[in-house]
Structures are given as structure tokens and as C-alpha cells.
Symmetry: D3
Subunit: 72 residues, 6 copies
């Protein structure tokens, strides 16, 4: 406690970025909770298939999001 | 807001059906919420492995559900 | 199957709107899945406390969203 | 109702163990709920990629957890 | 790991039944996982507002489910 | 995208701490994703009733966790 579920589209983030996401989100949460809760703090990634995530009714593929990221 | 998570068994729906699910569920929700919330309305598909979904204690495979769908 | 979880901020939607959300989202999904899956189609609302939902790092209250909805 | 989501790291449990998880967790819940709710009791497995689950800020791979299980 | 989320309608189960649900579901899962994973096994209850859970398009209240349970 | 769900036991964190959790977790995620995804980054808090969260089969109350936090 807490349990933090990070939902992402599969294929958008590299393994290295996914590792940084779970590590850095853990540290951000623990800084608020306090070190006593570190052992009970779980942070996980859940992946959604490309094309299976719509924003405003418009489905997005991994490539759509990669292009968006690249646009800075 | 809202965030809508559609959990399904992998292998039951085609990519085309998954696209229609996220689009049509988005439109149904936005019709209630109002257009102002369209940009913040996220609808996603999360997949469960075949055999990893039990109803009443009985695990179902994609094939079980396909047969059920075909039975009309 | 499917199981559809609609996450919203508490206090934004009236009971009537929440009823319409679960009903209309059910019908939109069943129209794609087929009537055979109607009895196994679950659609639920999960509520987040006001101030407990951030978009782009900015926490939103029910009032923020109500004002947004009213702005049309 | 209820809907029970069992989140695990992919590659830790065999298909047989996943089947037993959804069956045994179903029976444990139904024993409390009562038989009348059996047809509406859904238990599913959601998988997280290996390396995508951190405890206390430390990401775990399937192999880490397998070694832990083997240590008894 | 695993993390088990038990979604229920608020007002259906007593505190005592909710305690038994998280305890008995924990034991059922640990019997499959093995004792080595006991310290990392989290089982939680998430509550949905009465009227906010539809099966087959029909919203259910706590009273509907209580009547169903009583019908045995 | 991403959507980040922070599950906590109700009554453990103050409103101020919950605000800091959603803000700081947002910034930690955006630092990895990139600023282009800030507008689509949602971070929310979902609360579990006190006594409705078991670790290793042992249910925890808000007071249990507060005592743990205080123990430093």
C-alpha cells in the first residue's frame, strides 16, 4: 500500500523507459508516504494493445503516440 | 475524465471489433457527459489470457466464448 | 465478459446520469459483442475523490469539471 | 458481482497454476457471498510484463520471482 | 505480487464478510503461489456505488443483490 | 496516456498528501514520457475502505498504517 497501476499502450515505451517509470514513480510516491511504507509500495505497468486506446473517440496506435512524442 | 477500461479475453474480438468497441463506447459516454469532456474521455481495452477468466468458477477460453457468440 | 469499469470523479455526475452511463455503455458494447454475451456483460462505475484526479499534473475538483461541462 | 482481478507478472505461473488461481479464488469468494451469486462471480487474470512490477522501487523479473518461490 | 482487486457494490457485504473475503481469497491464492510470496500478496476491496453496476444493461442496487442472496 | 491509478486505504493520507501524490507522480511520469504527453497524462486516486486491504492474508485498518508510518 499503495498499489500504483500505470496503464500504457504497448510498443510506446522501451524496456529502459518502463524500468525508469516504475522506479521514478515509486520514489515520488515514497517521498510522500514515508520510508516506512517502502516495502509495501507496489508500482506496475499494464499494457493495452496498439489501437485499443481512444481519446475523445479516436483510437491511437503506438505509432501515433511515437510521432506525438517526437514532435516534442 | 472519465477513464473507461474494457476488459476482454484475448482472441475473442477482431481488431475491427476492438476499434468499434472503443469508438462506440466513447460516443455513448460523451453523449451523457457532454462534448466539453470529449478531449478528456479515455476508453481502453485490457486483455486477459485465454483460460484466465472464470465465470461462476468455470474458466473460459477464447474458443468457448466464440462458440457462445456463434450460438446467437 | 466484457467487464467495463467507468472511472469518474465523485460529485460530477447525478445518479440519473450515472444510470444512463452504465445503461448506454452496456448497449454500445453489446451491439458489437452480440446479444449472446448480454448476460455476461458487466458495466460499473468507480468513483475517485474530488481533487484526486490530475490531468497533466493539475488536480481537478468536481467543481472544476462542472464548470468545464457548463462551458459547453 | 463481485468482479475479482488477479494481477500477476507474466511468466511466473504455469497455465495450470493460473487455472487453479481463478478456480480456487472463485470458490473462496462464493463461499462468503453465497451460491445465489455464483453465476455473476467473475475472476480474471491480468498480466504485467516481466520487469514491469516494482516493490519498494525495485523492479522484478519473472526469474526473480521464480527464484523467490523456489527458495520456499 | 499478486495484487488481487475484489470489486463489489457498496452496501451488499457486512464488514465481517468483507474481512472474510480478503482473508479467504488471500489464503486461496497463497495455496497456489506458495508461502514464499505471502508477504507480497495484496488483496483489496474496491466499492462501486449502489445503482452503479449493470449486468446485461440492467443497473443493480444493493437491495437487488441482497434480495438475490436471500433467495438462496 | 498513460493513465496512472494510485490505490490507497481511505483515511491514511490527508487531502494535502493526496494532492502531492497525484502531482508528484504526474511529474515523475512526464519526466520519462516527455512534455508532449503531459495533456494526456491522467493520475487518479482510488480508495479502499479501512479493513478492506490484506497483506499476506492480514487485513489492515487506516490506524494500522498510520501507526506504521509513525514508526518511521
Amino acid at each position: 500500500m499503495p498499489f500504483i497501476d500505470i496503464k500504457v499502450i504497448a510498443g510506446v515505451f522501451t524496456d529502459e523507459e518502463k524500468r525508469r517509470l516504475v522506479e521514478d514513480v515509486s520514489e515520488a510516491a515514497i517521498a510522500v508516504e514515508g520510508e516506512a511504507l517502502r516495502p509495501a509500495t507496489h508500482v506496475v505497468i499494464t499494457e493495452t494493445p496498439s489501437g485499443g486506446w481512444a481519446i475523445g473517440g479516436k483510437p491511437l496506435t503506438s505509432e501515433d503516440v511515437q510521432a506525438k512524442r517526437a514532435s516534442g
